[in-house]
Subunit: 457 residues, 2 copies
């Protein structure tokens, strides 16, 4: 293995688009959460799949690690080059290549962000619904199997990617899937690469499924006496088949964070933030049904956001939860958790998480995509305070055990990265052997994002 | 490799549930379409995952082929033991293990059929929507990534399986996925096994996503001056966001088959068969919108089926298309094709297929899940007539080329089996290398359904 030799060879291919400058290495060493900085040896900025292929061919030959990076908004350190080597920065491959309005699909490069895509789609009457909050790149979202507030209605990246172009570790460029809506032709490589966190291949193009912009949209917030009542409302809503576009839980601690961060004055009680999409009559009917149902569970303080600017403000508040969490104990970092459980177990999981954080003396506001049974506790930590870090680790371990005991998963949407590796054995058991076999088959030299996702055998 | 030694050892484990009788071997040698009979050396009837594990362990040790079999309704010969060995008949593992009504999921054994499941679910208000026509087993449907008439609304097996238990070639029992609605924890082994046609593992349990039985249902048929007009209606319907539960094309040749088989007297013109699910008001609104739209494309002869028995009759007709095809040239077999294209290319694909079948002097009625861009030509052939078989092979090759040239796939839902192997290279190119690498990693001895899906390297 020789990283230096790889860098020399890569310089021949990329010229000025390969850099070893300290500033670039530092900016590619950082992350949004609590992981220590991990600088690459060099940063590469490919512009084409052929260049990515050349880079991986060289890195394979020299055993040089390659860690692909989108917007750097990952919450589990996925993009940190912890073993050095190359940070493969996909930000220059950010074009919208094709919109096929009749088929409701689009072909994009991986460095395009979801907001930029939706901006470009605005005039078409179509949009891309997957919404993880951060303005992530579409390649990064596919690599982490991202979802977010709208998954309850429109699905996750798993459901909204039709096809991929990707480069394997040996430099081979493959195409998976097609623009057809479904296929039974062979192994589902598209789904295998979605959520593979850059450990099996580097995504260089995505064909995305688009959806029609809803004719009418209405959003609202309301508060509940306790989280159980909010969750009861969610379960009832889903069981009666109301096609909620968004249904988000915000607990009383998170509301306090919102108030501090945004200067708002919401009562510090559990809230649901909801949105309805459909025809004007349909949305009105949904909103009415939801209101009736929520009131049965004790909801009050309904605030409706029918104007676009009010909805934008509402969802901006929700999307800035990660930053608003920072207002709760300024100066600390946030350790983001991300379990997902069957919805019947959601109230118990939330109750257990809240009890655990109190018990361990931690500040851990909760926000959740509760229609999917997915929620996040943002644990505030001082990475220099080892006792607090230990308590936070105990909290996340308890939360993982709770989720698994209730039939759930340790990560609903953030992915494994560095943070969840320690729970992979508990979640997957013997299936981990199969995952390792797939990794060995496609990346025998372990050059693609090494040290992530799979624990050492 | 010693099949005899494997059979000896299997007899010790299974007793009378392993048989080498000629009658059983013959009944496991047959298929619904044109493939020649292929008897196994023995038939095994496992009753537990532990038994499947023991069987695969023994077969691995002796290099004995194992071909899993559900209802035997596959249309591409998937379940034919073309290299002999064991036909692993899953029909005794046919129990519904769990219904979690609050979470809208169910846990089933792979030998349970979709109709039996829905029968058992009747009182719960829930149903399993994936509907390939045949009363297939749920394990077989997962293995072939089946879909059918309702995929346009409810998705395919890819979308409706939450978790699996499966046995790998070496006998290792793994669990993939969980009852949580989504997860980002590692490689998507569930989706890798769905559609893998028994070549990577044998499915021994499935956790399925259920849906609420619609409050109101309405169905209708109407006819069009030509297939273009029908397809234009479909595209417009989808673009306006009408949540069609079913939208099926039946061409004039197929209508003739229906009339012969069912004694009906439908005008021999292209028809759409449609169904709407929702609230009573919603269904009425959808039906009205669809009717208006279809009439703009020249639809006439609307026949509404609002009573359950009328709908049952309507869909029984559609579901028996494979058998009704047999009425067109009695005594022949049907070679079922199954391409899927982007919906904007559907009219061209249909036109080309019809011209090709005329050109080649073949009778090939068309039915299609046209909301997904998926259609089937059922080519009538006499397997003993080599000239006709050659013309049929030319037809399927042309159809495959047409689908791929239009950005589609050679199989939307039937799978590869034996029939589509010859098109895998054209569809996947370099990605076929990755598929072979995955197969080698998980089944290095090539004992699982050998000779299917992947062409020789």
């Amino acid at each position: 293995m020789s990283i230096d030799k790889a860098i020399g060879a890569l310089g021949q291919v990329l010229g000025g688009r390969l850099t070893t400058s300290a500033a670039e290495r530092d900016s590619h060493a950082a992350n949004e959460t609590h992981f220590p900085p991990a600088p690459p040896d060099a940063v590469a900025y490919p512009e084409t799949a052929a260049e990515v292929s050349a880079i991986l061919g060289i890195c394979s030959a020299h055993g040089c690690p390659v860690t692909a990076r989108g917007a750097g908004s990952a919450l589990e350190g996925h993009h940190l080059p912890i073993r050095g080597g190359i940070s493969l920065d996909m930000s220059r491959m950010d074009r919208l290549l094709q919109v096929n309005a009749e088929d409701m699909d689009a072909v994009v490069q991986p460095g395009l962000t979801r907001e930029a895509l939706n901006q470009e789609l605005r005039a078409t009457g179509l949009f891309f619904p997957v919404d993880p909050g951060a303005n992530a790149t579409l390649g990064g979202m596919a690599a982490t199997r991202a979802s977010g507030t709208t998954a309850v209605r429109y699905g996750t990246m798993r459901d909204n990617v039709l096809a991929l172009e990707a480069v394997l570790a040996d430099g081979r460029i493959i195409r998976t899937g097609s623009r057809a809506r479904k296929s039974s032709a062979g192994y589902d490589l598209t789904r295998l690469l979605i959520g593979s966190e850059g450990t099996l291949a580097v995504i260089t193009e995505l064909t995305l499924r688009l959806h029609g912009q809803p004719e009418a949209v209405s959003a609202a917030t309301c508060r509940f006496p306790d989280a159980e009542a909010a969750v009861g409302t969610v379960i009832a809503t889903i069981q009666m088949g109301l096609p909620m576009a968004r249904i988000e839980l915000v607990d009383e601690v998170m509301v306090k964070g919102f108030n501090l961060f945004h200067g708002s004055a919401l009562p510090e009680a559990p809230h649901l933030f909801v949105e309805f999409h459909g025809s004007p009559a349909g949305v009105a009917e949904q909103a009415e049904s939801f209101g009736t149902l929520a009131r049965e569970y004790g909801a009050e303080g309904f605030a409706w956001a029918d104007r676009p600017e009010d909805r934008t403000a509402l969802w901006a508040m929700r999307h800035k939860a990660h930053y608003a969490t920072g207002a709760l104990e300024p100066g600390k970092r946030t350790l983001a958790t991300d379990v997902c459980v069957p919805i019947s177990a959601l109230a118990e999981a939330l109750r257990t998480a809240q009890a655990d954080s109190r018990d361990l003396g931690l500040t851990a506001p909760i926000v959740g995509h509760v229609g999917d049974g997915n929620f996040h506790c943002g644990v505030r930590v001082d990475p220099a305070d080892t006792a607090e870090m230990d308590r936070a680790a105990e909290f996340t371990a308890r939360l993982a055990r709770t989720a698994l005991a209730l039939g759930g998963t340790v990560t609903g949407e953030h992915g494994v990265g560095l943070g969840k590796i320690k729970f992979m054995e508990a979640e997957h058991g013997p299936a981990l052997w199969a995952m390792r076999a797939l990794k060995d088959a496609l990346d025998p030299g372990n050059i693609l994002n090494p040290g992530k996702m799979l624990p050492p055998a």
